[in-house]
Each structure stands twice: as structure tokens, then as C-alpha cells.
């Protein structure tokens, strides 16, 4: 049975063109493209900021900037990388691929989808505008509290904090709308015959991500709203004088913040197995086990938040509870690791760029995860906490686990999206440069942290010099390697060898049954799955 699945008004052939097309579009591929483009641009912006940070840290002493500006850079770097680079990238893939993968005509709520994207540029403006305003003497620059907004520092801060609060509000609305859309699409738009347990893993990853977003983003919104009223309307949520507690903000923030790190990675844990199975030419191992693990991770993620502030003081039972529950997350992740490797095991592997990234990703994310496990130990965390050890941990998970995972996805799906092959050689060079420079940047930071270098400082004691120098040089190499990535994408969009429909020899899934690039309206005939 196959039926026409899409209605559009008669005049649908004259889509608006130019900017109006993008402003008004309800097409999931257009919107996906906008998300991905936005993400790439913001990745460069956030990266450019961090190059400033690394340059300042090249040597002890204040070279380039004042400490207050340094503090602004780290917070905005983090907010941009997380909210404007990594999350939109995952949402971009969701928009592009979920309808294709589940055989849907489009996303379920197309206009809402458009809104979800168009909330992002305003929020990026709110995040970066204070820098510009400061140049004109208005205010004292962007948020200078790091990305975590901890009061009382954020109550004390200037208008940059207000801008960041509203940026978070817009980003929050965007994420919740995006999540609603994805949940509805996955529950209501699957092709006949595609039961939940037949959904592609990417769809599963996103479904759980969307649940987490719906459950936690509003809590963040509530927390920053209370911050706003503490700042301007005389409430005492976060001050002891009125019976409040600054640490309460940390509870609220990390109730969102910890699930957030899995929100960032669940989509990646979704498509990495798909890439592995494609290039191993062998069906994914342990589909069910993986789905259950994703669920377990999602569920555990909302009950472990306090491991981010063990040193803030908590009763012993609470410390023990949060320590053990955090450690428990290693169990589902162990299952995932096992399934990924088992998928490769005795396959017939080739190592095109997506596969290189996927394999490199497993190793590097493994380092990030295992160091995370060590952080969960309360007593040792007194040492690790807020040291560069933590910085290294979360770049292994965020950059290697997040951004490099996304890169694997980009190389994997780019031929499908553009209809052209990217430059394979360049892609491989990009991988190796990234992998090497990345390790050179962040391995030294583990040792810096152990030796006692705190994070978020613009200047440091002499004994930390050498490792910081290596890290800085490597960070620049890492940054400039990304230009290859940009170049490769641009060239691929512009032209290049035609891609076949299936693109990869071992590819499985509905998205590969469509032409490359897929037609504007993906499935005019809804496929059935058996």
C-alpha cells in the first residue's frame, strides 16, 4: 500500500525565493540546512573566542586582555558552543534525517519548526550584543560568570547577565518547540509498519533527547527567571539573608545541566552505530540493548545532578547517593560501547572519513567518559573540581564526543544532502589533523589540573607554563584544521562528483532509498516497512 501523503496548495510551485524562502520555509530540509549552517558559523565564532582564551593562556602574565574580558570570553564561548553550535547541529540532523529515516512527508508541525530555528539568531544576538554595546560605552560587556550563572556573582554582574538570561529563555523556547515537534513526528508520522522498535537508532536517540529537553529546559528557565527577579525585583531566592541559598541555584542549574550533557550526546549515540554498521557492512549489534541503554541513560541523567558541586557542602548520605548514582551511568554506557565494538567486530570494514571519525570518536569519547567516572568520586573530586582536569574531561566529551561525532555525521550525510561527494582525501587529512591537535590540546590539561591549576583564571603560576604553551599551540592547529572542514563542505555544496542514491556500499535505511539530494517533498509516496 502506498498513498500520496502530502497536500499542498495549488500554487506551491512558486516558492518564495531569496531571503523570503528561508524566512518563511516550512520544509524540513530547508530548516535542517539553516540549523546546520547556523551551527557551523557559531562553531567558528565560539572557536574564535577560545583562540583568544588560549592565546592569553600561552604564557603567564596578562598579554592580550583584562581579566574581566577573559571571564566574558569563557562564558560566552561555552554558551555558544553548547547552545548555538552543538545543539543546533543535532537539531539540524534531526530535521533533515528523521522524516527521511522514518518515511514521513515532513515534520509534524512545520510552522513550529520554522519558529524553532528563527529563535536561534535572536538568541545569538542577545549573547554577543553586550560585547558590541560595551564598545559604545553601554554596560560592561557580556556575562562574566562562566556558563553556569552561579549567583551571587551573577546577581552582582552587569547587564551582560540580563542579556544572557534572555538568550537562555529564547534558546529554551526553541529547544522545547523543537522537542515537541520531534516527539510528535516520531509518534505520529512513522511510515506504516515502522514500529517504535524498528525505528532507526538516531530517531531513538532524539526521542529520549526530546523527552529530556521537555523535562529539564523549563527548570533552567525557571532558575534564570528567579535570578532575574533577584537581580532587579528584590527577591531573595539566592541569598541567605532572605532564607534562600546560592547553592539552590546550583541544584536547579544542574538539574538541567547534567541531563544537558546527554542531550548533547544522545543524538550522536544514535547515529554513530548507524555509521558503524554502514562501514562494517554488517547489521548493528544489539539494537534492543542499545535502545534500553539509551533509556537508562536518560532516566539516570535526571537523578545525578549534584556531582557538579560536591565541594559546595552536602550531608554525607547525599554525597554518597550522588556518587554511586553517577557511577551507575557507566553501566549503560558499557553496554553501548560493547555493542558498538561488536558491530565492528568481524565486519568488513572500510575507513572512509565518516568511519574514521566514528572510530576515533569511540576512543576519544571513551577517555572522556572514563575520566568522568573518576570525577564522580567525591573525595578525589575535591581535587579535580574546577581544575583543568575537569576542563579536559568535558572537552573530551563535548568536543570529541559532541563535535567530532557531529563531524562524522556531516561526512556521512553530506553526499545525501547535497548530491555531491566531498573530497575524501581532504576529509581524511581533516580527521587526522583534528584528532592529533585535539589530543595535543587537551592531554596537557589533564596534567595541569592534577598539578593544581584552577580553571577560569586568565593568568597562572609559573609552574604551569610549559603545558599551557603546548595546549595553546595545539589549539591553534586544531582551530585552523577546522578551516579544511569548512572548505570541504563549501566545495561539496557547490559541486563535485555526483553521489549515488545509496552513497555508501553498506548503507541501510529509508533515507538511502531516495535520490541524492532528495526531492523537495521527500516522500510523496509514503513507504511501508515490514
Amino acid at each position: 500500500m502506498s498513498t500520496t501523503t502530502i497536500t499542498h496548495d495549488e500554487e506551491h510551485h512558486d516558492h518564495p525565493t531569496g531571503i523570503m524562502r528561508w524566512l518563511t520555509t516550512t520544509n524540513h530540509k530547508d530548516i535542517g540546512t539553516m540549523y546546520l549552517t547556523f551551527s557551523l558559523i557559531m562553531f567558528l565564532v565560539g572557536g574564535a573566542m577560545v583562540l583568544g582564551i588560549r592565546a592569553e593562556l600561552f604564557q603567564p602574565g596578562l598579554q592580550l586582555m583584562k581579566p574581566e574580558f577573559y571571564n566574558q570570553l569563557i562564558g560566552v564561548h561555552a554558551l555558544i558552543m553548547i547552545f548555538s553550535a552543538l545543539m543546533p547541529a543535532a537539531t539540524g540532523f534531526a530535521n533533515w534525517m528523521i522524516p527521511l529515516q522514518i518515511g514521513a512527508p515532513d515534520m509534524a508541525l512545520p510552522r513550529l519548526n520554522n519558529w524553532g530555528f528563527w529563535l536561534l539568531p535572536p538568541s545569538a544576538i542577545l549573547l554577543t550584543l553586550p560585547f558590541t554595546l560595551a564598545l559604545f560605552g553601554i554596560g560592561d560587556g557580556a556575562i562574566a560568570t562562566g556558563w553556569t550563572f552561579y549567583p551571587p556573582l551573577s546577581v552582582q554582574g552587569g547587564i551582560g547577565v540580563d542579556f544572557a538570561i534572555f538568550a537562555v529563555h529564547l534558546l529554551g523556547i526553541s529547544s522545547v518547540m523543537g522537542s515537541i515537534n520531534i516527539i510528535v513526528t516520531l509518534f505520529n508520522m512513522r511510515a506504516p509498519g515502522m514500529t517504535l522498535m524498528k525505528m532507526p537508532m538516531f530517531a531513538w536517540g532524539w526521542l529520549i533527547t526530546a523527552f529530556l529537553l521537555v523535562a529539564t529546559i523549563p527548570v533552567l528557565a525557571g532558575a534564570v527567571t528567579m535570578l532575574l527577579t533577584d537581580r532587579h525585583f528584590g527577591t531573595h531566592f539566592f541569598s541567605a539573608a532572605g532564607g534562600g541559598d546560592p547553592i539552590m541555584f546550583q541544584h536547579l542549574f544542574w538539574f538541567f545541566g547534567h541531563p544537558e550533557v546527554y542531550i548533547l550526546l544522545l543524538p550522536v549515540w544514535g547515529f554513530i552505530p548507524q555509521i558503524l554498521q554502514t562501514f562494517s557492512r554488517k547489521p548493528m549489534y544489539g539494537y534492543k540493548a542499545q535502545v534500553y541503554s539509551l533509556w537508562a541513560i536518560g532516566a539516570l541523567s535526571v537523578v545525578v545532578w549534584a556531582h557538579h558541586f560536591f565541594t559546595a557542602g552536602m550531608p554525607v548520605p547525599a554525597l554518597l547517593y550522588f556518587m554511586y548514582s553517577t557511577m551507575a551511568i557507566s553501566l549503560p554506557l558499557a553496554v553501548l560501547f560493547f555493542c558498538w565494538i561488536k558491530t565492528m567486530w568481524r565486519g568488513s570494514m572500510t575507513f572512509e572519513t565518516p568511519m574514521l571519525f566514528a572510530v576515533g570518536w569511540i576512543i576519544l569519547f571513551g577517555i572522556g567518559g572514563l575520566t568522568g567516572l573518576v570525577l564522580a568520586d567525591v573525595a578525589a573530586d575535591a581535587q579535580y573540581h574546577n581544575s583543568y582536569f575537569v576542563v579536559a574531561h568535558f572537552h573530551y566529551t563535548l568536543f570529541a564526543g559532541g563535535i567530532m561525532g557531529i563531524m562524522a555525521g556531516v561526512y556521512y550525510w553530506l553526499p545525501k544532502m547535497t548530491g555531491h561527494m566531498y573530497n575524501e582525501k581532504l576529509g581524511k587529512v581533516h580527521f587526522w589533523l583534528t584528532a592529533i591537535a585535539f589530543n595535543m590540546t587537551f592531554i596537557p590539561q589533564f596534567f595541569l589540573g592534577l598539578a593544581g591549576m584552577p580553571r577560569r583564571i586568565p593568568d597562572y603560576a609559573i609552574q604551569f607554563t610549559e603545558f599551557n604553551e603546548i595546549s595553546t599551540i595545539a589549539a591553534f592547529a586544531l582551530g585552523f584544521s577546522q578551516l579544511l572542514f569548512v572548505y570541504n563542505i563549501v566545495m561539496c555544496v557547490k559541486g563535485g562528483k555526483k553521489a549515488t542514491d545509496k552513497v555508501w556500499e553498506g548503507a541501510v535505511g529509508l533515507e538511502w532509498t531516495l535520490s541524492s539530494p532528495p526531492p523537495y517533498h521527500s516522500f510523496t509516496e509514503q513507504p511501508t516497512v515490514n
Binding site: D377, V378, I436, I462
Partner: protein, 404 residues
């Protein structure tokens, strides 16, 4: 291609390890100086070994697979057979049992012990101090011996610890701005040196009460293995017990504003005899500083310059120009040039003295930090230097009465 690249990675990694190997570098925590740090180091090492082992196993399997099971070696994909019910159960339970025991037994039990140890601040503690973080300096206050009698503690020791009660001072960074701006060579303890060290007797368990005057700070000395957030309005606790005499350095590690990188902790562990000497000397010094002096304007201004540069220049700058809009200029400031006392002889609200004593917004309250002399000095200095010339002066006695 792959082999080559792996060789390159290896070389790169070697490079990372080789370069700093020339420098005298630590690859783990710095040498522990307290039982807590010793325990932490032990736990850290154990966990690192476990995770490294896991990592190596996972990596080895993967690398084997990458090299063996590739298409270019014409390896044909093998189809995984579904497991029988029995072997499925076996293959689920066994790894889970291993993982659970790693998490909750091999790692969980030592971790449990250290948590209990870390949080036990009261039992067997000999003395108590209170640490207050403020932007951007630490204040230390000695609260004397702990109440309970500890087995094996001599009465003299207890007396000495009790004598320290009432000692209270502020510890400021002494690294100069020129060193930070690369205009002067950096000293050996660049950024980790202070005017007043916290002095603690070796071997005594010190219960530390931690609080803050403004934003969150975190008192941390890596060699002590203890760190605790200072929360304004709340009291948090931790403890240290220094095992060996020496100077230990650390830093504030909770982002606390622009001076966060400039808030070092320096602790000196000394023997009981030296501690006793220090207590006597410090008490004298404090008594002397608190003595209300009658000073001339010139004396006040000269002394005020030092106080200003140590405490105020971070925000208002050495020249008094401030960093508007965040930190107002004092040069030409209405407050610093306005009247201090009203007709009734009481100091005015929002006057110079009010602002310095009580602070406002980001401007800290200096009541608890500076002595009457120092406040009089710095105010007189601000009114008659930094481009201001009000011409009047403020006497310490006036500050003293204003405090009441």
C-alpha cells in the same frame, strides 16, 4: 595511510610527553601534606589504574578488529548469530557483575571510606579557624582550641591553641601589577604569594569553618586534598592536618569575578614551638595596629597610599581613574569629595565613610577587613590624592566612633 598516520599520532604523543619531561613536572597530584590528600592520591591512583586498564582492553579489541576485519584484507562480514536464551543471560549477567563490582566494590568501597573521612570535621579536631572569602582576599580568624578534649593532647598545647583566639587578619596577594603586565620579571611564586600567611601548627587537626562576604569562593590547597566552597551567609566546614612543616600554596577555585585568578592561599605549617612564638608576635602586631593614633594629614596620606594600593587599586586603579562603568573613578567622585559628617556629627548616608565602611553593591564593606587606622588613612588619602584635594582629614578616632 592508516599506519603512517598512527605513527604520526604516536610521535605527537611522544612529543607531548617528552617536552615537559625536561621541566620538573608532576604527573599526578602534588606531594600530599595531609592524611586527606594522602588518601585522595591513593584513591586517584587506584581509579586511574582501573580506568586505564579498561581503556586499554577496549582499545586493544578495537584496534585488533580495525586491522583484522577490514575489507581491504578481503575479510567478509560475518553475520552475528542470535544468542540462545541461556548464553544471552550468561553474557548479560557476567559483564554486569564485573562492572558492578568495579563500580561499587573495587572503586566504591575506598571512595566510601574517603567520603566519611573527608566529611568528619569535628571528631578529634584540635583547633578551629574561620575563613572568610571576599573579593578578592581571604580573611583568617583563629577561634582557639576545639571544645572537646582530645586524647593525648597536652594542656600546654591546648593553652597555646587557645591563646591564638582572637587573631584575625587579611591575606592579600603581593605580586605586583608590573609582574602581571610583564613589565617586571616574575618572581618564583608569581601569583601564589601573600602578605599574611595562614600559620597552622603541624600535626594538629584543624577544623575550618568557611564562609564568604560576597560571592562564592573556594578555598583550595592542592597538597591538602581538601577544598570547600565559601557560601555567603552559610557556614561550610572542612579540615586539614598538616603532617610536615613547610609552605603550601593554593588558589581560590570558584569563579568570583575579575580578581578570581588573584586570590592565593598560602599556608605555613610550623612546629608547636614556632606556632607559639608566632601567636605571641601576631597578637602584639594586631594590638599595635588597632591602637588609635592621632596622625597628621601627611602621615595619613602617606600611609593611606599603601592601604589604597593593596586593597582598592584592583578596582579603582592605582590612579583612581576606576574602570567605568563597572568601577567608578574616585578622582572627582562626588562621594570622595563630598562631606563626611552631617551637622549632628554623625556620618552621612552615602558619604565617603559610609561607602567604605558598609560598601554598596559590588563595592565591598571594609568594616571587618581594615582597622580604624587604615580606614582613616585610606579615606584621607583618597580625598587628598588621586587628583582630589578636599583638604580635610579623617582621624582614626572618628572612624572608631562611627563604627558604633
Amino acid at each position: 595511510m592508516l599506519m603512517q598516520s598512527i605513527k604520526k599520532t604516536g610521535l605527537g604523543l611522544l612529543l607531548i610527553i617528552a617536552v615537559p619531561a625536561f621541566a620538573d613536572y608532576s604527573w599526578s597530584f602534588p606531594e600530599p601534606a595531609t592524611p586527606m590528600a594522602l588518601d585522595t592520591l591513593h584513591v586517584h591512583n587506584e581509579f586511574m589504574q582501573i580506568t586505564t586498564a579498561i581503556f586499554v582492553v577496549v582499545l586493544a579489541i578495537m584496534i585488533y578488529s580495525i586491522f583484522a576485519h577490514r575489507k581491504s584484507k578481503s575479510y567478509v562480514a560475518h553475520v552475528d548469530q542470535p544468542l540462545t536464551k541461556k548464553s544471552e543471560i550468561f553474557w548479560t549477567l557476567v559483564p554486569f557483575a564485573i562492572l558492578l563490582s568495579i563500580d561499587f566494590i573495587i572503586m566504591g568501597i575506598p571512595a566510601y571510606k574517603s567520603v566519611i573521612m573527608m566529611e568528619d570535621t569535628r571528631n578529634d579536631s584540635n583547633m578551629v579557624i574561620k575563613i572568610t572569602g571576599s573579593q578578592w582576599r581571604w580573611q583568617y580568624e583563629y577561634l582557639g582550641a576545639a571544645e572537646a578534649n582530645i586524647k593525648g593532647e597536652s594542656a600546654e598545647d591546648k593553652q597555646v591553641l587557645n591563646d591564638a583566639k582572637g587573631i584575625k587578619f587579611v591575606s592579600n596577594l603581593t605580586t605586583t601589577q608590573d609582574e602581571m603586565d610583564n613589565k617586571a620579571p616574575k618572581g618564583e611564586h608569581y601569583l601564589l604569594e601573600v602578605d599574611n600567611k595562614l600559620v597552622l601548627p603541624v600535626g594538629k587537626k584543624v577544623r575550618i569553618l568557611m564562609t564568604s562576604a560576597d560571592v562564592l569562593h573556594n578555598w583550595w590547597v592542592p597538597q591538602f586534598g581538601s577544598s570547600r566552597v565559601a557560601v555567603p551567609g552559610f557556614i561550610r566546614e572542612t579540615w586539614v592536618q598538616i603532617l610536615k612543616p613547610g609552605t603550601y600554596r593554593g588558589q581560590c577555585k570558584e569563579l568570583c569575578g575579575k580578581g578570581h585568578g588573584y586570590m592565593p592561599v598560602v599556608v605555613e605549617g610550623v612546629s608547636m614551638q614556632e606556632y607559639q612564638k608566632w601567636v605571641v608576635a601576631k597578637k602584639e602586631e594586631i594590638a599595635k595596629a588597632a591602637e588609635i593614633k592621632e596622625m597628621t594629614k601627611d602621615e595619613l596620606v602617606t600611609a593611606g597610599k599603601g592601604v589604597y594600593e593593596k586593597n582598592c587599586a584592583v578596582c579603582h586603579q592605582v590612579t583612581g581613574a576606576g574602570l567605568p562603568p563597572a568601577f567608578p573613578a574616585l578622582t572627582g567622585s562626588k562621594v570622595a569629595n563630598g562631606p563626611i559628617f552631617g551637622a549632628d556629627g554623625k556620618y552621612l548616608k552615602d558619604s565617603h565613610l559610609d561607602r567604605v565602611l558598609n560598601g554598596k553593591g559590588v563595592m565591598p564593606s571594609w568594616k571587618a577587613v581594615l582597622t580604624d587606622n587604615e580606614i582613616a588613612e585610606v579615606i584621607t588619602y583618597e580625598r587628598n590624592a588621586l587628583g582630589n584635594s578636599v583638604g580635610d582629614l579623617l582621624q582614626p578616632a572618628q572612624v572608631k566612633s562611627a563604627r558604633q
